[in-house]
């Protein structure tokens, strides 16, 4: 499956890209995160603390990293939001 993966704020800075197309067999968000972490140090560093990350699948925030990726087109990874 091909996914558009987007990074924001310090996740983007640490990984060094704003977005990329990822070919993956990950069934869940958690699997995708560990696949990315295994790629290179910059990913491992950016994604090391899962409690500091939030994930949106197709622009919807997920409550649970075990959320399935079936049918998903876009996954975004970012720190807790600081709007307002």
């Amino acid at each position: 499956m091909k996914l558009d993966v987007l990074y924001f704020a310090w996740v983007r800075e640490r990984i060094g890209e704003a977005s990329e197309v990822v070919e993956t067999t990950a069934a869940t968000v958690a699997e995708l995160l560990s696949e990315l972490s295994a790629r290179e140090d910059r990913y491992a560093v950016a994604l090391s603390d899962l409690s500091a990350l939030r994930v949106a699948v197709d622009q919807e925030l997920v409550d649970d990293l075990d959320t399935a990726l079936a049918g998903a087109r876009e996954v975004a990874i970012f720190p807790p939001m600081t709007g307002g």
Binding site: L6, F8, A9, W10, A56, Q59, E60, L61, E74, A76, F78, P79, P80, M81, T82, G83, G84
Partner: protein
């Protein structure tokens, strides 16, 4: 319902006038305008706001729809700026219009609480000493529990 994410400044009083003129049965308008506040060290040069364009609009419309479902609102408005701002700049505005004040007050607070931690914006502070991402406050997350209904559990 009006949602706007923009780089340019806005005129709060003009936006309030628009809300009033659209609904003659409005008896109360509550507005909140957020400004870029200098940091404790007094050396904030700029605040940079990043967002996730595809998600921002969806998230803001969902938050606004939730407010409309919970309170008797005649109208509501969310404006959030992005890009580079300096201390004193207007950063965002929320306005709610209702027949009676209680709905407008509560809905405005609800919108603010959700904007803080559920709308995909991130702030980066630039100071003379360097730059750093603003860390989300635990209290912002805790503020949401106040609005959680038993049916959500």
């Amino acid at each position: 319902m009006v949602v706007s994410v923009q780089t340019e400044d806005f005129d709060a009083s003009e936006r309030i006038r628009d809300l009033v003129s659209a609904h003659s049965q409005t008896g109360a308008i509550v507005t909140f305008t957020g400004l870029v506040r200098d940091n404790d060290g007094g050396d904030l040069v700029a605040l940079e706001l990043e967002h996730y364009p595809l998600m921002t609009r969806k998230a803001l419309l969902a938050i606004e729809a939730e407010a409309q479902a919970r309170w008797a609102l005649r109208a509501s408005l969310i404006i959030h700026r992005i890009g580079r701002l300096v201390p004193g700049d207007r950063i965002m505005m929320v306005a709610t219009a209702s027949a009676h004040r209680r709905d407008a007050f509560e809905a405005a607070e609800f919108l603010m609480d959700y904007l803080k931690s559920r709308a995909p914006f991130w702030k980066k502070e630039h100071t003379a000493r360097g730059s750093s991402w603003v860390v989300a406050e635990q209290s912002d997350e805790a503020a949401l529990t106040r609005w959680r209904r038993s049916s959500d559990d």
